[in-house]
């Protein structure tokens, strides 16, 4: 029997249980206090922004057309802020935001993560293109305000997040071949222009030219940080992480490379499953060539025996190389049987094609038919 003042087992359990209740209760109490503090900070931010927009935009402090930069402190934990308003809409910027917009249609400023921070309504602002998402830096966001007389036009001074933007959107992304461009080593804003030039080249070639409506093209924000050795080597996981911001059946990483440097040290572009890694100093047609590999399993029609003898290449695994009888395409209009297809010992269907050299502007009847058969899946 326990003596007076001696702690028994039940006492220890009671103490432990009380301690646990205090810990859990304390955790929830602190959470509530923090949440309340976050709410106050968000309300203050909303009020500060609205007052600033109103004062500067309606002529109290800024004449119409005048501009100024302004910063606002944001509560700790806010990962990004998205303003939603008029202006041109980029539907692929953030579909999570799109979903949330439907849930709370009367709000126009959204804070990430949504689960933690409530959205607000702020008056007296408009946007050039919407949504405008900004990543806070140093606990604040910096805005560039242009007075309109009835409010302000809001732009990001820094930290604007692009996420995913569509370059060419033809059809619902579930029913299209979605190609997303990702940059590597870009120090300027030329990725969009480079991507456009690759798209123009791609869509100038049959069968893609007559099937343009089956393709969507996007740009995803982020640097794939590819390595350059003898060939361009991009980390598949890193590229996938960035590309997942957009519909991404195929990822095309454009590795920014100086033309002069490339003449001195030519670097190979590459294709591995749905990841095409392209050296921008290379001929634009290389994109079309690599897509032929990745999309339809077309083999190289040039010969490089040193490479191919090591790879265990077998013509029967590819639609566009064959043994000397060229039985795979025998009788097909516009075809022949020309020596050399990956290995000197195999044969191809045309003298030249995009799978043989980048001088050619077409795939040739056999390759085109194969590509069309794959594209039919999307029709």
């Amino acid at each position: 029997m326990a003596k007076k003042g001696e702690l028994t087992g039940i006492h220890y359990i009671l103490i432990a249980a009380t301690t646990m209740i205090l810990i859990i209760g304390g955790y929830y109490f602190i959470s509530l206090v923090l949440k309340s503090s976050e709410k106050t900070q968000l309300a203050n931010l909303r009020l500060s922004m609205e007052n600033s927009f109103k004062e500067y935009g309606t002529g109290f402090t800024g004449a119409p057309g005048s501009a100024k930069d302004v910063s606002f402190s944001v509560p700790e934990g806010v990962e990004r802020i998205c303003f939603v308003g008029g202006g041109e809409r980029n539907q692929f910027l953030d579909e999570q935001l799109e979903t949330y917009l439907k849930e709370v249609p009367n709000k126009n400023v959204f804070f990430f993560p949504f689960e933690k921070f409530e959205a607000s309504f702020v008056d007296f602002f408009e946007l050039e293109d919407t949504p405008l998402c900004i990543i806070p830096r140093g606990g604040a966001i910096s805005l560039h305000l242009v007075s309109t007389g009835s409010g302000v036009k809001v732009q990001a001074k820094e930290g604007r997040e692009i996420g995913c933007s569509s370059l060419r959107y033809s059809r619902d992304y579930g029913k299209a071949v979605d190609i997303v461009f990702v940059g590597s080593g870009y120090n300027d804003d030329s990725l969009a222009a480079d991507s456009e030039s690759y798209i123009a080249t791609f869509l100038s070639v049959e069968p893609f030219k007559s099937k343009q409506d089956l393709f969507n093209f996007f740009i995803a924000e982020g640097d794939a940080e590819c390595k350059i050795g003898d060939f361009v080597s991009c980390d598949h996981f890193q590229a996938s992480r960035i590309a997942s911001k957009c519909p991404n059946d195929f990822m095309v990483v454009l590795v920014s490379r100086d033309n002069v440097l490339n003449v001195l040290n030519p670097v190979r572009s590459s294709a591995m499953t749905n990841l095409l890694s392209l050296n921008t100093a290379d001929n634009r047609m290389v994109f079309v060539h690599e897509f032929g590999h990745g999309f339809s399993n077309l083999a190289d029609e040039y010969t490089d025996d040193a490479f191919y003898q090591k790879s265990g290449f077998k013509a029967e695994e590819y639609p566009n190389c064959d043994a000397e009888d060229c039985g795979k395409w025998k009788g097909k209009l516009g075809t022949g049987c020309f020596g050399g297809c990956s290995l000197s010992s195999y044969y191809r269907s045309t003298e030249d094609s995009i799978m043989r050299s980048l001088k050619s502007k077409d795939f040739g009847p056999v390759n085109e038919e194969v590509l069309r058969s794959y594209l039919e899946v999307y029709e």
Binding site: Y12, F231, S240, K245, D249, S311, V377
Partner: protein, 164 residues
Amino acid sequence: MKWLMVLMIPLLFAPAYGWEDIAILDLHYENGQLFLQEALYLRGFYPDRNIQPSEGYRLAVLDGDEEVYSFVFRIPDYSYVDVSSNSELTGGIVKLDKVDFSLTVPFPEGADNVVIYDEFDSKVIETTPKTPTLAILLILGGVAVIVLLAITIKKRRPRPDSNW
């Protein structure tokens, strides 16, 4: 012919997909073995995979015992490397002994596991991504403390034949 042996899934029957909860699996293949290096869970898009090989490895996303998504894939143990000089191409296919690659798959609410089977339908990878929340960790930690205390007390209780 192997190149023709692909499953082309008619779009009519293809599952609707879009911006949703996804998992990106970082995989490593070496000497015939597949390893999971990392799994990242986020919201985003995944490839439609309307064109799949007819045979190869198979990935399945499970909700309990039910497969909510699956597809067949080949290990990308090869890479095409091409270089052009005056539009003439050289290079070719490089067979890789080891390769890092990733797979992006949907991971809908309720899903609790991603499983990969090899060509012989043997399970080679299984991952359980669900992580307990802080509250659950606290409760579990508390229970552990109570159990430890109870064990300690029980050990310290005097035996009936002791002189204490």
